[in-house]
Symmetry: C2
Subunit: 452 residues, 2 copies
């Protein structure tokens, strides 16, 4: 069977959907087709919540109605090869699809340490974006279990929090001194760890996994320290690798981290082929180095850039590097970060000052459900540019970090931040007299004066 | 008694406190004194909540600890005259205070229509920032009453919502066709009205008050239409007038709206005297016209500017006009706005396009407590600059409107907005694939293309 479309998008999770719908919005006369393997795509960042807050995987499915509404066609099939010369792709189902523009949104797969003994034992799981696999894991967690999670990044921490909440006996093992250290300095990571412990999670930070042991089924996690943890289930949350085999086979350039090389229009060196999301190269807005950060929000931002540039590049619509805006909730407290941590900034050679302020997120503080709200800013000493920020607080911190994201992305200085106006309301935000973001900026400015 | 300080701040509500604490942070060696009449200052925007959500006025007091911590002195007394030549001020208590810099933060007083018959009847109240007065009003509302509120601005609407929640029989009278029309176009005002009606508020929009009637105590509100409303209590929420008598007597220039004339450093024409908050002149960031907007958040922003410029002007730290960021909650739904409404923009001569998008504020939408989130953007057709925005949704809308505020204040175009990165999280924000702010921007961009 042959099929002809203007734009073929391979992969139909967050990035693929956004590339197609944005493209269709900007180029309404073009035809768009998404090909993906999964009949139902799971919401990637919602995965930890299928084990606790949600009733199951079926409640965590990306809706397809927006695709139909946008007049984007969806084909459930697997593209097995790309012919760049012929500008076509062939699927496992035998469809040959001709395209004018191609968007690769092939995502990522869990990666596990290949030296790890016991990783093929029954009861050892990873967290792929795969509905059936996740259903199987969930069914193994119907009864309270002894669960070890290896890896204290966002997925590991959120899983630990949810599973402990659900009554499982959870041990979280992280090789670094602190959890979430990609996003937070140790001050906030420590707070997150306190909340995990309070939730009942057994925390093993600075501990290296040696091997998994058991007959047929996993029964023990053995650490380098010699400690042995008895378990029913092990979840390896040790990161993801870009899924680039299709691109590699087609001769598209892959970078040293295994991601598809792209420019700031999200285009590969083949001008008709774009790549977005987990499979595409990432570089940091601040440090400018290439790294392997994978976030659905970043993926969608890249996908919008690709969609807008499909049939004509816009010098105004470029991707200027990942801001790395993270947010999560641990034990009911929101943790969020944007830009660089203080530690990363120093490691990369920035002279920085940082300061924080603890305020409240409603006002007066006598209002029901008022939470403390801590804001920290990391600022380049030489020029006052805001390089990073973090927030710990109630639910509103999830959007407050986006305020900080815009501040970073517009290359704002502390001086400009101090003159910004913020709306406040008793039931919704901190007080106008002590809005934590402004007070943190003021504290930074005081340090900058001292620095000069 | 004589007293000498470097900086005297007259008025100790939000603006006065922020002017003093910011000034002290920037000029640590200077001495700061606040003189205010009220032993306890009420949190201005918290006032509606003392009648419902809070247990009373005592729970809505501005804390003075931050003043003590910042080494700012507080004197409870009333300044009765200012001598600009001698650079001194005299209090009712007989203290003569010499100052080097003076900050006027004298606030505002409720204004009531002087033609209004019956406004002196017992049972007729206004909403001043006065603890004892508010306590008296609250004690009159211990039992369920028939209450008429005149004026459907923020104070009137919030009071109506709180009092109806508390079981009072509330009628809200607004002369304009819709409530909250200073902040919202009729689309969102209509939604607010629906929620008020659902809460049990009797809404009379487009109705002019004729007079109040009663023996000794008010018993009737009579409208121009002839309709009579039987009442126990009437609350006049008909606006506030700047409190400028002290400034006027000292020969400081007052503008045609009765506010103290200031420049963008928040300075009067006397270079040693600043004015901030409700008593000071306001002009709009977008329309550039002078108007009478009073918001604690704006007041605090002005106060920061004054505090930073006290002993040396900074060309970088100026007030560039009021962005007018409003937020409130009505019937549990957040309404927020920034910049201009579509109607105001057109009235002032801007050619604009606007578009909105309804998304959700958690994702997937199956998560508990997910609210719809509607975002609307108002954009200058000629150049794509964002002039205004509005959000209706859950609690996170209170910070999301600050994202839009920063977008307006940094003079961002829709094009730039479309390339911004926003952090998302299942429990905290809308989905990365359909973040309502981005989708609204996309919808505006589509209209702009059509416009060109």
């Amino acid at each position: 069977m042959n099929k002809q479309v203007d734009v073929l998008v391979i992969g139909g999770s967050a990035a693929g959907i956004v590339a197609a719908t944005t493209g269709k919005a900007f180029y309404a006369s073009k035809s768009f087709l998404i090909v993906r393997k999964e009949p139902e795509a799971v919401v990637p960042c919602g995965i930890p919540y299928i084990f606790g807050t949600l009733d199951g995987v079926h409640q965590n499915i990306v809706p397809t109605a927006p695709l139909a509404n946008a007049d984007v066609e969806l084909l459930i099939d697997e593209v097995v090869s790309i012919d760049r010369e012929a500008k076509s792709a062939t699927t496992a189902g035998g469809v040959v699809i001709s395209w004018d523009k191609l968007v690769l949104a092939t995502g990522s797969e869990p990666k596990t340490p290949d030296w790890l003994e016991g990783r093929d034992l029954d009861g050892v799981f990873v967290i792929p974006k795969n509905r059936d696999y996740l259903c199987r894991l969930r069914s193994r967690l119907e009864e309270p279990r002894r669960v070890a999670i290896i890896g204290g990044g966002f997925i590991g921490v959120e899983l630990a929090d949810e599973l402990a909440k659900k009554g499982h006996d959870v041990t979280l093992v992280e090789i670094l001194p602190h959890v979430l250290s990609m996003a937070f300095d140790s001050d906030l990571s420590l707070k997150a760890e306190e909340l995990l412990v309070k939730r009942g999670v057994k925390l093993k930070t600075g501990e290296k996994l040696k091997k998994l042991a058991g007959q047929a089924s996993v029964s023990k996690v053995i650490l380098e320290s010699g400690e042995e943890i008895e378990v029913d289930i092990v979840i390896l949350a040790t990161g993801y690798a870009p899924n680039v085999e299709l691109a590699r086979s087609a001769g598209i350039k892959i970078n040293e981290l295994g991601a598809i090389r792209v420019d700031e229009y999200m285009r590969t060196e083949d001008k008709n082929i774009f790549a977005v999301g987990d499979c595409a190269e990432k570089f940091s807005f601040i440090t400018r180095i290439v790294k392997g950060l994978m976030l659905a929000s970043t993926a969608c931002s890249e996908a919008r850039i690709a969609g807008m540039n499909l049939f004509g590049l816009s010098r105004l619509r470029t991707f200027s590097g990942t801001i790395a805006i993270f947010s999560t909730a641990i034990g009911g407290t929101t943790f969020a970060a944007a830009g660089v941590t203080e530690q990363l900034a120093r490691e990369r050679g920035f002279e920085v000052v940082s300061a924080g302020f603890t305020g409240i997120d409603k006002h007066p503080g006598t209002l029901p459900e008022t939470s403390n709200q801590y804001v920290k800013l990391i600022v380049n000493s030489e020029n006052g540019l805001v390089l990073g920020g973090a927030v710990m607080g109630g639910q509103s911190a999830g959007e407050l970090i986006n305020v900080i994201g815009v501040i970073i992305e517009t290359k704002m200085t502390v001086n400009e931040l101090l003159t910004l106006q913020f709306g406040t309301h008793p039931l919704l935000t901190g007080p106008p007299t002590a809005y934590a973001l402004i007070k943190a900026a003021e504290a930074v400015e005081m340090k900058l004066r001292h620095f000069k």
